[in-house]
């Protein structure tokens, strides 16, 4: 049942009134992005997804409300950190070089936590994909969520599928102009709010919001607001499914993560075929349950036909399940002709075996194990994370300096970090060398271990000079260990003392 290409490309034909079954109209919807119909180098054929009602649509509404709510509200959540720190719960403070997440404060030196978080997120995505297929694409991806929101607006302003098709084909009238402008205006408002919420994660939200409206905010704030407004409007309003099909790498990657036991939105060919219109009173024996009403195609935001089987374009949003279930109820057949199922189960049913789900598989175990391992490392790192830190950088230019009496000096830049909100005194010790003398710039008569005061939430840089008598230089490279400690916490940093090794 493939329509001639030219007619598909030119326009979406008016819906015919043919009956697919008693009480169910057959929609002449064309899966414009299906493998058989899509063509390269032609303009995008618009898709008019039809509203469906059902459990998955409800789940998507709830999910959308929760995720968008979280996204918009999070920058406004306050978290008291005392007088000298921002009170925004989630804040990427680029000016002061800190990342705040509720009780966690990450310094730029600890960016590996972010790396860990990203690894954790990808492993979790792998794990979920192996189990349930593309749930990320179908429910949680921003592209999906915002496109869904934009289609909702479109539906509210222009009406459902049929009205939208009719409106697009109709000549320009005042009504059409009004509806189109209203739609784009609301889209732009949503886009601006999206970009606006994004920049609130990088500045104190109430202050920035006030400055934004007064016109006194930083130019970069307006720039990013503009970029993100445009991106949201363009991606969710105009590009839509093309982002998933042409731009996103994930559909390609996920093919490597799934197998024949992975749950996917599946048309059960074994039950549905051979498909065809069903006349009232006709028996269901000897034919498939698919009445070819095309409701699944009309509901699809990606413009594909799920009955073609597993395909890259399918984001597994499950709206076709809702569409089909409604039809199945009306014709008095059990629901689930399209359902979350596995390719393996289709094969099992064809062979008259009992279908079942196998969740514990080597691939799933592997992803779960990696997930647990990385999470454990992260948790260990976070729980043993000290509020002090030490970095020692030996001068490399010059590597060492010979003094007038033949002794040799090395210079070190020692950075002591205090990650608490109160000023603290640390104790700095230097060990491992024999017979050296020490000098710290700005300190008088240093006696080790030396007391180092560091202000609250600050890093203090010391310049430490170590001098070794010429006759004590047993090797060109001698080990030396810097240790900083305070309040029961200790950090060490092993480095080297370089010289010519006493060769003159």
């Amino acid at each position: 049942m493939v329509a001639p290409i030219t007619s598909t490309v030119k326009a979406v034909a008016a819906e015919t009134e043919a009956l697919a079954a008693d009480g169910v109209h057959r929609i002449d919807a064309r899966a414009t992005n299906s493998a058989a119909l899509r063509r390269d180098y032609v303009a995008r054929v618009p898709i008019y997804p039809k509203l469906v009602n059902g459990q998955f649509r409800l789940l998507k509404w709830v999910g959308m409300a929760a995720m968008l709510g979280l996204y918009y509200a999070l920058p406004w959540v306050r978290w008291d950190r005392g007088p000298n720190a921002p009170d925004q719960a989630v804040l990427v403070d680029l000016v002061r070089e800190r990342f705040y997440f509720f009780w966690i404060e990450i310094w730029p030196q600890e960016v590996y936590y972010l790396t860990g978080l990203l690894i954790l997120a990808s492993l979790f995505l792998f794990f979920v994909t192996a189990l349930f297929g593309r749930v990320w694409c179908g429910y949680a991806c921003p592209q999906t969520v915002w496109t869904d929101l934009y289609i909702m607006v479109e539906r509210l302003v222009e009406g459902d599928r049929n009205e939208r098709i009719r409106l697009d084909k109709s000549p320009w009238t005042l009504d059409k102009l009004g509806r189109k402008s209203a739609k784009h205006a609301i889209w732009l408002l949503i886009a601006a709010a999206t970009g606006g919420a994004w920049i609130f994660y990088f500045h104190d939200a109430p202050t920035l919001a006030a400055n934004l409206f007064k016109g006194t905010a930083d130019a970069t704030a307006y720039l990013f607001l503009g970029i993100l407004t445009f991106a949201t409007y363009w991606f969710a309003g105009h590009m839509r499914e093309q982002v998933c099909t042409y731009m996103c790498p994930w559909p390609r990657i996920q093919a490597a993560l799934i197998d024949r036991e992975t749950l996917m939105v599946t048309y059960r060919t074994d039950r549905g075929e051979p498909r065809g219109p069903h006349k009232k009173g006709q028996p269901w024996e000897g034919r498939g349950h698919c009445i070819d009403c095309n409701q699944c195609v009309a509901a699809c935001p990606m413009g594909i036909d799920i009955r073609d089987g597993e395909q890259l374009e399918c984001i597994n949003c499950a709206l076709c399940i809702d569409a089909c279930d409604a039809v199945m109820k009306r014709v008095g057949l059990p629901t689930g002709l399209i359902a979350y199922d596995t390719p393996q189960n289709i094969e099992r049913r064809t062979k008259c075996e009992r279908p079942h789900f196998t969740f514990v598989r080597p691939r799933v175990i592997l992803y779960a194990a990696a997930l647990v391992a990385v999470a454990a490392v992260m948790l260990f790192g976070l729980s043993t994370r000290a509020t002090i830190d030490l970095n020692v950088l030996r001068d490399r230019n010059p590597n060492f300096v010979q003094l007038s009496d033949g002794s040799v000096r090395n210079a070190y830049t020692v950075k002591v970090m205090n990650r608490t909100a109160k000023a603290r005194d640390f104790s700095l010790a230097i060990e491992g060398l024999q017979g050296f003398s020490v000098k710290i710039i700005g300190f008088e008569d240093v006696k080790l271990p030396v007391k180092v005061a560091v202000d609250a939430d600050r890093l203090r840089t010391l310049r430490v000079l170590l001098t070794m008598p010429g006759d004590r230089l047993s090797a060109k490279s001698l080990p030396v260990v810097f240790t900083v400690s305070g309040d029961g916490e200790t950090r060490t940093n092993a480095t080297m003392f370089l010289s010519d090794g006493g060769e003159r």
Binding site: P398, S404, G442, T461, R463
Partner: protein, 289 residues
């Protein structure tokens, strides 16, 4: 001449009419997005001409209604940076050099500012790490010809060495060989004497021959014991550091030619805060004196 349009049956695209060996060239239109970007840039450029300097005229150029100038922008950015640093700069100016070193924040600021100024002005001769080269002193060590205290270093930066400043640090060793003040044999013996001063093996007879000559010709500046005299900027000859090298040939070459480096005066070129920062930076390299 192509007189009629030919449409390629397979692709539905017009051909250019060119044909080679039966292969026809399609006149595929530009991608629409590309065309739109082109139009957008054209519209953009019109706006640009109106707002920004764009067209050359006979005497200058069109200014644009925004009156924008990159030269002004740079000046503004420099000014903004200065005012951003003004607070610490003021504190730096008000504090003595010793107070700067004792205050962690000021020390950090002075070292950063000093390091940047050092890279711009001093590294050419002294090296990017102030490690020095032959004839250009290493500023990391403990040899200070003109003094290694904070004030001494600052003074040297301000007046320079053998510079055009009226109060410049000045020392002049006679070129004993080049100006024929001494015989070659005497210079050879003196070389042995200087080598012996730093504790190295030397020809004892030669040393004995020139002991009086050293006292007459050299001791007035380098001291009777060879330890040098700071007032004259005369180096210590008994230590292990040699500005022009410590081998016999290098020492002899110095007695013959008496080279001396030149450091410009920075007092007029750099602002007082930068000079303070430089003094603190140089002093902090090796701890000075």
């Amino acid at each position: 001449m192509v007189t009629r349009k030919e449409i390629d049956a397979t692709s539905g695209t017009e051909t250019t009419g060119h044909e080679w060996d039966g292969i026809k060239e399609l006149n595929t239109p530009l991608p629409r997005w590309w065309l739109w970007v082109l139009y957008a840039t054209i519209i953009w450029s019109v706006g640009y001409w109106v707002l920004y300097p764009a067209w050359p005229t006979l005497t200058g150029y069109t200014q644009g209604v925004l009156n924008q100038s990159q030269r002004d922008d740079v000046a503004k950015a420099v000014q903004a940076l200065k005012s951003e640093r003004a607070e610490l700069g003021q504190k730096l100016a008000a504090a003595s050099l010793e107070q700067i070193e004792a205050n962690p924040d000021l020390l950090q600021f002075a070292r950063e500012a000093g390091k940047s100024a050092f890279g711009d002005n001093c590294a050419t001769c002294h090296g990017s790490g102030a490690q020095g080269f032959k004839g250009y002193p290493n500023l990391n060590d403990d040899v200070w010809l003109w003094g290694g205290k904070l004030e001494d270093i600052k003074r040297t930066i301000v007046v320079g060495v053998r510079s055009t400043h009226p109060e410049t640090r000045l020392s002049a060793m006679p070129a004993f060989g080049r100006d024929k003040l001494l015989e070659t044999a005497q210079i050879n013996d003196l070389t042995e004497y200087v080598v012996s001063l730093s504790g190295a093996k030397a020809d004892a007879q030669a040393v004995a021959r020139v002991t009086t000559l050293y006292a007459e010709q050299c001791a007035s500046c380098h001291g009777a014991d060879g330890k040098g005299l700071r007032e004259f900027g005369a180096p210590n000859l008994t230590d292990k550091e040699w500005l022009y090298g410590g081998t016999r040939e290098e020492i002899k070459a110095q007695i013959v030619n008496a080279r001396g480096g030149v450091m410009p005066t920075w007092g007029q070129r750099l602002d007082p805060i930068t000079i303070d920062a430089l003094a603190v930076y140089v002093h902090s390299l090796g701890g000075g004196e």
